[in-house]
Symmetry: C2
Subunit: 148 residues, 2 copies
Amino acid sequence: MLRLSKLADYGTQVMTYMARDHVIHSASEVAADLCIAAPTVSKILKMLVRKNLVTSMMGAKGGYVLARHPSGISIAEIIDAMDGPISITECSSNTTCDRESSCSTRSNWQGINHIILDALEKVSLAEMIAPKPQVVDVSAIRSRGIQT
Amino acid sequence: MLRLSKLADYGTQVMTYMARDHVIHSASEVAADLCIAAPTVSKILKMLVRKNLVTSMMGAKGGYVLARHPSGISIAEIIDAMDGPISITECSSNTTCDRESSCSTRSNWQGINHIILDALEKVSLAEMIAPKPQVVDVSAIRSRGIQT
DNA sequence: CCAATGTAGGACTATTATAGTACTAGTTAG
DNA sequence: CTAACTAGTACTATAATAGTCCTACATTGG
């Protein structure tokens, strides 16, 4: 469905939550405020740490903080942290049947994929918190179009 | 993973296959040429018929033909036919927990979703068949950017 | 130094979505 | 009338994903 995984959705929620104030938050605190199961939040935060989007403080009074400023973190990074590299098609070259059919379309898919990735990279966390966002100027893109 | 479903992938393959020549094709013929299981192709074609992307001819010597010119069919339509409406997030309003967290980000998601949908709508089947595609001018979009 | 609190990391399970299959009915050409 | 094909629906199996649990480790505070 060209849909984001739930984990990625949660991930952005967690990140936007943390972007609001640069205070340290425990996993359970985030879970309670966001109404997501605590272990799940914990898991998500661990994944985010691994990708250096969030820094962790161990021990009592420990918790998580955003590793960078919200303006320096893109949605694409978050999704990537949760779901791995963003790619619409598999194109895993297990083409047992290398007829002319599929391969000619692959490059087009890649182009489309690129656009999407580009859009995701341009949106930062900081823009995500903004209540009424200027964030995406769709019409500008639309007017230019894709076909030549 | 923000990935296209396999069915949608097959769907575009089938459509591009049919876009090559405006001849009538039986489901089994398409299946054989594309190396996709015959019943699956059959299923896909039926879905495409339902969305008026393909016309079917019943009876002996029957088969399927593209309903419109390839230039008038967008990738978005095909994906929509296979997977239903394209939407990144669920946002299905089952927000048992309507904290300030999630809802402020929804509008941004919708913006992003719009860009993706737009990109998909701009690519036609005709462009998909073109061997070395001019199809997407990514750089043009990139130079304009998304943030204000 | 010890206990409490919280993260790190992995393995595991259950649920859901999806792909793919099979079968029956209906339609048209010859 | 019969053969060849699509229409439609219901079913099954597989894989991806969400979510849980458990053990080990680090830090703060008494």
